[in-house]
Assembly symmetry: C2
Homo-oligomer: 504 residues x 2
């Protein structure tokens, strides 16, 4: 059986077709205009080499059609479904963003409710605006020691479902950016009791399920739909992603149409072929590659733990932490006497060690199948050097405020760790309303037209359509004073904010 | 002055920054997972070479942020605006599709009207669904000799504006797929008299304005916004595009937010850098490159014209044909005794000559800056061979029906060549309504949930939200019998059609 599957997965139908087209000698009178590279500017050719242009081809008959696949794309997607544990898989060239938006558009009609964690990605807000769906927010659990938002609990989702039996879908973000997983199986079970599909933004978990020491994947856990950024942790080209569906709670025709709404009708075959190769790679060597990746991560963990000033986020099962991706390292650096941004700059400039995400007190590192022992060596040596490096006096003054406690404590919708806030306007109505920009001191009682999300902890304080309170303004100011940053909003210094115009 | 501009345009800020990042030795702990190619599957590396992966990088601080640009992307976009005659330019990684959708979302609130030609691209229907805008259709002029839809006249737009003074925008497709331009300047003038912005889907016209023998660009003609597929005729990578804006009739903040709704938050720097290089290429050598492209096209035209069975679409100013792009060749092949699809197959298989678009009687060829004399030689020799090749007896029976006359004649909204049809439901309402699939013989009087667009002439007979009439069904059947094809719909044989469910 295993051998049989392996044989099937040795083929790469889409890549092979592209290769044949790319190496054929033709007189080319179709798009793209560079005609297999002959018209490309020399600086681009110097950067990317020649071959990539030969393969940058349009939807030739041999290459199938992404939006009505019946040939090599259909075959490649079917193989991917098998490898990633889905009944059906769609390849995306507009990132997980397209998958998240389409998941919402495919399950929620305008004005219908969707249950979501408050710490969703920006693309979810886009999905709410485009679908016209109304969010029912659930607070993630919060870790005061690390000042980090983790995941949501089954209890919190159950509560939201009880309060909102008319909700049309539940969406999770699992894993979080830092690799913390929800109990997807328990939540899927709950959702299905209510007859509601579970959609999982699994952007950072495309490698899950290929090794017993990694968390199980959303598909394995019984989710109805999962969106994966195949480029983030696996080896696809940036912007290439997949949507997987299992079972019949998702209307697949509607999902196909929803994906077509938000993706280029001239999809890049470079991106598509990279997805076919990832499937080949993971189906045939996935376990070995993940074994090696996990070993590198464990080596980094064990050596960095020997530096007494550092602490590494570990999986301790607790509410909101069902499992952790051990290939992701979040390292607390504040006890070195410097903040995370400074540590990031120094590691980058002196050692060429480039982190994924610096925050005030932590750095997050992604270890993937592309990393080597040498990378880990540099990472460890960099931190050892950082430890020894004389710090400017006074630079160790990083307080122990918990930004997250402030934000979670502030959320007026918090009720025993989970509950629900109805916005004044739906995100769609707030988007299309007339806007004006007002000074922050004039903003109280107005309806926000923008997202305002402080880092840490990455939980929005304001989502478009919500009323701006005095408390919210005070909180955001406090976070800025303490060294936090705001994202999502046009003026990250919070001198002004974009609000819905009052009709006078 | 000229020299000064040229010097500015010698720089490639975005490409240069990417080059520096790509050649730096780092220990990489950020996305993408392939880590500068080290983790990539070998088949992909064999196809694309090594270098492309080193440059496939995320939004590192040195590389700016596409959605809040303040560094090298901002600089590159400013240079592009200058080169393409705009006040501001946005780079797109989700094709012209993203630009067209954002143009509609940025100008029309839900339920507001937009005036458009009936032969719009699929992405416009997506824009209508996502924005919730209501289309006011204007018929394109029709050429019965060629059985082709051309462009719309200023008169038709004036009529629509008079009838719909509450419309919020006018959108044109100029040039059409076949290179036929509207009188954009006259239409812009009209729109501005009504205080309405003119949006131009200029997907096939990114090269316009770089040579006096090419049509003027939408920006030069006074349009407020133009969307260009920089990959289709210039040398960007597939899926890379630009939006240009001039003047203050477009709310640029809202356009920025609208673009962010429909584009990946992990944009590909391969695509972005290719846009920077196209700007460099066209700003510094555009005229010479277009001179050479036009010469190749003229050579093809003059040599192909000597084959008496062929006819080439030429620009004869007439209503709906203000100008033609002479780098695009549409060749009537039916007098060779074969249809366009067969001609396309034969040229492709025997000569490696690959056209952009075959239809029943024509082939369309795109000649661009990537073509060579050798390409033209093969094209001409291919047609000469095709002329001499013995045809199967009976294969010359291609009737002289005019599909387009049928469609245009059918359109019940036709009123002196231009007028307006209100759909029963908006495209958005039709998209989100409950659907069912019914046999075509049961479909009359139902509301279509899908686009049904016959080729030729590429003018939709049904748009989502419109009532299906007996006449429409008869027309579509007739087109199929005559050898035409249907696109946009789930069942292109028209045995069934997807309709809005009746509430019983």
């Amino acid at each position: 059986m295993m051998r049989e599957i392996d044989t099937v997965h040795q083929s790469t139908p889409l890549l092979t077709a592209l290769q044949q087209c790319a190496t054929r000698s033709t007189a080319t009178f179709h798009t793209p205009g560079h005609k297999r590279g002959k018209g490309v500017g020399k600086a681009l050719q110097e950067l990317l080499g020649d071959r990539v242009f030969a393969a940058d081809l349009p939807e030739l008959p041999e290459l199938d059609n992404l939006f009505a696949p019946s040939g090599v794309i259909q075959e490649a997607q079917a193989l991917a479904a098998q490898a990633f544990g889905a009944d059906q898989t769609w390849f995306l060239t507009n990132g997980s963003t397209a998958g998240v938006i389409a998941a919402i558009v495919a399950t929620c009609d305008p004005s219908e409710k969707i249950i979501l964690p408050r710490n969703v990605h920006q693309s979810v807000i886009s999905g709410l605006v485009l679908a016209g769906a109304v969010p029912v927010w659930v607070n993630p659990e919060f870790d005061p020691n690390w000042d980090l938002a983790h995941n949501v609990t089954p209890d919190a989702i159950a509560h939201a479902l009880t309060q909102n039996p008319d909700a049309k879908a539940v969406m999770l973000v699992s894993p979080t950016y830092l690799g913390v997983c929800a109990d997807v199986a328990a939540i899927a079970h709950l959702c299905h009791q209510y007859g509601v599909p579970l959609l999982v933004d699994e952007a950072h978990g495309a490698h899950f399920g290929f090794h017993p020491d990694l968390p199980i994947s959303a598909m394995q856990a019984g989710a109805d739909l999962a969106v994966q950024s195949t480029h983030k942790v696996l080896s696809a080209l940036t912007q290439a992603a997949m949507v997987h569906v299992k079972g019949d709670r998702i209307d697949r025709d509607r999902l196909t149409k929803s994906l077509a709404l938000v993706q280029s009708t001239s999809p890049s075959y470079l991106l598509l072929a990279s997805l076919d190769v990832v499937r080949w790679q993971m189906a045939t060597q996935g376990k070995a590659l993940m074994e090696q990746t996990l070993q590198l991560a464990e080596e980094a963990r064990s050596r960095l733990t020997q530096i007494p000033e550092l602490a590494i986020l570990e999986s301790t099962r607790s509410p909101g932490v069902f499992d952790c991706d051990r290939t992701r390292l979040t390292i607390h650096v504040a006890n070195l006497g410097i903040d995370g941004f400074t540590a990031d700059d120094l590691l980058n400039q002196q050692w060429g060690v480039v982190a994924e995400l610096p925050t005030l007190r932590h750095l997050t590192f992604i270890i993937s199948l592309g990393n080597t022992k040498d990378d880990i060596e540099r990472l460890v040596q960099g931190f050892e050097w950082l430890r020894e490096k004389p710090k400017k006096s006074g630079s160790s003054v990083i307080g122990h405020w918990s930004f997250g406690s402030l934000v979670i404590g502030h959320q007026s919708f918090k009720d025993k760790g989970h509950s629900v806030l109805s916005p004044k306007l739906s995100p769609r109505d707030a988007f299309f309303a007339q806007h004006e920009v007002v000074p922050i001191q004039m903003a109280a009682t107005r309806i926000s037209a923008e997202l305002v999300c402080p880092y840490p902890p990455g939980i929005p304080v304001l989502v478009p359509g919500e009323v701006i309170t005095e408390k919210a303004i005070a909180l955001l100011r406090q976070i800025l004073v303490m060294g936090g940053t705001l994202s999502g909003c046009a003026n990250p210094k919070l001198e002004t904010v974009r609000v819905v115009k009052t009709i006078s």
